[in-house]
Symmetry: C2
Subunit: 292 residues, 2 copies
């Protein structure tokens, strides 16, 4: 199967699942549900759930066994975007070319929508019908919560808010703010496939760490090079806010070289998977040669 | 054992557990961890974890089997308070007589602290060493996530933000915003005790619903009657903001009567527990005769 076909097949599962969970019951608040649906169903690259599906598939998991983790990691990601966009945080008016959640529904409803999405992520892992046993579900919850909390994504956002000045700090911030959840995504795929060998975990984490950092540096580069129409946010916004980036600290050429090196490390890590790693290789290639 | 002794014994377990989890690893952000610790370790009545311990104890559960659920429900409650206090929400400067989290650490860090606390709640249930099997842990996660999400606490906050005008709306708002988590607390105690008979669940839910609503009406009454020194927030704040309350809609006397009726319903629901329900009865009595 080609990557494009697998992506269509796998990610096509998400919206129907989301719609099923976002409606709520008769108890729920219509406006809150609208704010949530607006943010979840607005497209996006869905890199994290795709990584769950691709990794699980490489270890022979069925797609339905990967649904809970794939849904949950995307909901965690979306909640973090809604909160990051708030005026008190990054103060962004646009997300994926559309007004951000708080611009449409108010800051209060954006805070609430993010909160409720995080909750929903864990509820889905605990309850969504799928061929997963209780121990697998608990491991998925453990990995996802650890990656998104005070030792992961939330810490990365805190470091970002306080400001970074050195390459070490910037790298740490990227590893926590984005890397932790990408890293978790491959683990979630392996756990859902019930294939947790030490070799698999170590290799796939190395893969995820490499593409995670490369993805961020690529983002920095696109921010300098890409027009607004492609990236969906005003060009050069990071520079305008005097935000420290890889190209700013080590230059454009060295940043490009770093992306290439990380890409090659990522491919090396997949070697042991042989033919089963093909789609993950294509995915890395797509991710690091994207124009937006 | 007397209620005061049990309360000291049970709630005394929480701070050491919280401290263990709030420190984070070397990866984490010191300021974020401080904002979290400031909010979690500032006292508070800890009614929800106490209800977990009391219910579990009534069904012969050991205290250590109740720790994960007790910790988690309090962390969910604290996260909701931090977010509710934000300028974009209720805009409160004081909580328990001290400056609110965002006044001390900034809105951004208050948002992040709340987010990370919610995450931590689920991580603790999934991982904290306790005599609970995987299925019990998953049920705890299910009950807690359902009670705090779009069909529970978050919906209640949304309804509150949009404003209520009738007694039905006010009651629904109370049932979701506060009631859902109190209701969950008794379920969590029963699940952790591995005693999920239909009779137990139905009776304890009736108990929790009655004391939950009574607790809120009592809050409304205290808000009119109590001085600032006792309630820890400026007196009459709900009236100043033209907030609809029980006394405003049905009068002080009828509100007091309603509290009495609900109290008596709560006691009736515990009848089947016999001597085992004694501490829960005393707890209801304490809760509804409190002066703050």
């Amino acid at each position: 199967m080609k990557l494009a076909d697998f992506t269509t097949l796998a990610l096509g599962r998400l919206d129907p699942l989301f719609k099923q969970y976002l409606i709520g019951s008769s108890h729920s608040s219509e406006k809150l549900n609208e704010a949530i649906a607006y943010s979840v169903l607005n497209g996006g690259k869905r890199i994290r759930p795709l990584l769950v599906y691709l990794t699980g598939h490489a270890f022979n998991a069925s797609l339905d066994s990967l649904d809970p983790a794939a849904c949950a990691v995307e909901l965690i990601h979306v909640y973090s975007l809604i909160h990051d966009d708030l005026p008190a945080m990054d103060n962004s008016d646009l997300r994926r070319g559309k007004p951000t959640c708080h611009k449409v529904f108010s800051d209060a409803f954006a805070i609430l929508a993010g909160d409720a999405l995080q909750t929903l992520a864990f509820e889905i892992i605990a309850t969504h019908p799928a061929p997963l046993n209780a121990n697998q579900r608990l491991k998925v919850i453990h990995v996802l919560s650890h990656a998104s909390g005070i030792d992961g994504m939330a810490a990365g956002q805190a470091i970002d808010l306080l400001g970074v000045t050195t390459l070490d700090q910037l790298t740490k911030m990227y590893q926590l703010k984005t890397g932790a959840l990408l890293n978790a995504s491959v683990k979630l795929g392996i756990i859902s496939a019930n294939s947790e060998s030490e070799q698999a975990l170590t290799a796939l984490q190395c893969f995820a760490e490499s593409i995670g950092l490369a993805f961020q540096i690529q983002d920095d580069l696109l921010d300098i090079e890409g027009p607004k129409e492609i990236t969906g946010k005003p060009q050069g916004i990071d520079n305008a806010n005097a935000k420290i980036t890889y190209p700013l600290l080590i230059g454009v050429e060295q940043s490009r070289q770093k992306v290439k090196d990380l890409f090659s490390e990522a491919l090396d890590a997949l070697e042991f998977l042989g033919k089963n790693g093909q789609l993950l290789r294509e995915f890395a290639d797509y991710l690091l040669h994207r124009k937006k």
